[in-house]
């Protein structure tokens, strides 16, 4: 819980109280190579929400780095994940993005596998491969080294050793539960994710959700001007009513508005359901004397959350819950995957309106995301030059506030909460996690160059 000594930790999110990071880390191929090896290969990567594969035989194809991965639900109802590679000649086995199947059959020679990955049959097996039949176990699909499912969120890792998912999530799980445990039946996706290509480093999008509340007042000025949601430009000024609470929790960040679920646009029946369904600690935080509601956050390395809303008709505010993955393709390109989730008890009209509210503001055509993408991609252009790489990134917001102004000693959740979202604390925490991961084994080589504006030795 929050104490003044933890505030010091927030303020020193980067080692030695540093408030800058090297711009080079957003475009350098060497850094990207190390990120692959230190962050994405060993780490927990979000793959899917379990509601994408509700029935036995359902599957989706997902990626960690370039590895194509089948995430499927077997006949026994268990979720499994396999490398999407035929055991015969390494042909990409499944060439659809998702669906429902009884078997996967490789188009090259016809080897087939059942939904739990077991080699089912191969043409001309006897006697050409073996008089007694091949070893089915040996030639089954390679399982993903590690798979973890928590609160309906499916994660995977390319490394067989490492921290279990629950340990990795730490205090962030408590804030994930605010979203997943407000409906007795949980959440489900509203169809497949939007996928699209954006020409910026993966950290730029991640940082925006990890800790950049500051940008809304200017990047999204157009949306404030036309009154697409209840906030006006004034609300984004210093100590305006859009300033909320920033919480650093485990490998993540979550932001809370000082607003109730009803003020955020949830209809009365859903608000009642949330209040009666949430576990007591979360309920007490959200429905206490001062109302609160999550607005968004980030889980390191590349999964972000957004619980926002917009008017879908004159003065009719409808919220949405968006989860997005910034999948890096190379040092300067990402593929964004973006899902809209909804409480399973939600009415058909709420579902429809929630999707409408999302597309009007975020995703491929969103009036807010269009300008985010503009800024992310032009930031990428700006920082990638030879001398531009020497210009460090300034993560200095929040330093003007005194510790007494920031501390929230009676805040009711785990992690470290501060009484403003106008702080780069989330960005500093993101880079602290990044630097720790980049400095970790397997290689003893330091990512850092001492005395640089960036990473310490």
């Amino acid at each position: 819980m929050t104490a003044v000594e933890d505030i010091a930790d927030v303020r020193d999110g980067l080692p030695a109280g540093r408030d800058t990071v090297r711009s080079e880390i957003y475009s350098d191929p060497g850094i990207w190579s190390r990120e692959r090896e230190r962050i994405f290969e060993p780490g927990w990567n979000f793959l899917a929400h379990e509601s994408e594969i509700p029935e036995p035989g359902d599957f989706v194809v997902r990626y960690i780095l370039e590895d194509s991965i089948i995430v499927s639900r077997g006949r026994d109802g268990t979720i499994r994940a396999f490398l999407n590679v035929c055991r015969h000649r390494s042909m990409l086995l499944c060439r659809a993005e998702g669906g429902s199947a009884r078997k996967f059959v490789c188009p090259y020679h016809g080897w087939s596998y059942d939904m739990d990955g077991r080699l089912s049959s191969l043409p001309l097996e006897r006697p050409y491969f073996s008089t007694s039949g091949v070893d089915r176990e040996e030639l089954s699909l390679r399982p993903l080294p590690r798979l973890g499912v928590t609160e309906g969120f499916v994660f995977g890792s390319l490394a067989s050793e490492g921290e279990p998912l629950e340990e990795y999530l730490g205090d962030f799980a408590w804030y994930l539960a605010i979203h997943t445990r407000r409906d007795p039946q949980g959440l489900e996706v509203l169809g497949p994710p939007q996928r699209w290509i954006v020409r910026n480093n993966w950290k730029i999008g991640a940082e925006n959700f990890a800790g950049d509340s500051y940008h809304a007042q200017y990047t999204h000025r157009s949306v404030l001007e036309i009154g697409l949601h209840p906030n006006s430009p004034k609300d984004f000024q210093g100590r305006g009513k859009r300033d909320g609470i920033n919480v650093l929790a485990g490998p993540g960040v979550m932001r809370l508005a000082r607003q109730s679920a009803a003020e955020r646009g949830y209809p009365p029946d859903m608000v009642d359901l949330f209040r009666s369904t949430l576990p007591a600690p979360q309920r007490d935080l959200l429905f206490g004397d001062e109302p609160r509601w999550p607005t968004g956050g980030h889980l390191f390395p590349n999964l972000s959350f957004l619980n926002a809303g917009a008017f879908v008709a004159e003065r009719r505010l409808v919220p949405f819950l968006n989860v997005r993955l910034w999948r890096p393709l190379d040092a300067e390109t990402i593929e964004t995957w973006s899902w809209v989730l909804v409480e399973k008890s939600a009415s058909p009209s709420f579902r429809r309106d929630s999707m409408r509210s999302y597309v009007l503001t975020f995703g491929t055509t969103g009036t807010e995301e269009q300008d985010d993408v503009e800024n992310f991609t032009q930031m990428q252009r700006g920082l990638a030059g030879v001398r531009a790489k020497d210009v460090p990134q300034q993560l200095i917001m929040g330093r003007g506030l005194r510790e007494e102004e920031l501390a929230m000693p009676s805040f009711g959740g785990p992690g470290t909460a501060v009484a403003t979202t106008y702080t780069d604390a989330g960005l500093r925490r993101f880079h602290q996690l990044w630097e720790r991961a980049m400095a970790a084994p397997p290689s003893a080589a330091a990512v850092a160059r001492p005395d640089d504006a960036g990473v310490p030795a």
Partner: protein
Amino acid sequence: MTGTARAELPAEVDLEVAPGLETEATRFLYREAAALDSGNFDAWLAMLAPDIQYQVPVRSTRYGRADEEFSATSFHFDEDLFSLTMRVKRLATRFAWAEDPPSRNRHMVTNVLVTAVSATGALKVSSNLLLTRSRFDESRTESLSGARSDVLERIDGRLRLARRTVFLDQTTLPVGSITTFL
């Protein structure tokens, strides 16, 4: 709430009724493209019926029929006149960074077929769309392609766009964002 929307493929075209109407529909679609590409969004809004439904469903690769690839619940656009008007209002502010400086968006509309005519004179029209976007001094041009299925209604004697569904070819869009209308 999973389901699939079937692409309305122009399978049965009544060639006898079409030619004059096709010219009329084509001229409408060309005028619409010109309004969009010249940034005359108020003129574009004036071409829409008050009860317009405008949708671009998310596509994902499926084994089997291509027309089962479109989601019934997940969209790139799911709009009515209110939301389309808000999008146009945004573009008219001085803070719509994604279109200031303006992109060079170009709508190429081809393969126009009138596939049905209602008793009230409304036209069901299919067409192909290629959208290109050029930005700043970048030589790379982004593009999107797809099939449109439209309903053009006659309101006060003039055609208006009453329903549009765009079935994009791409499942992973090769563009950072869509800053115009499809």
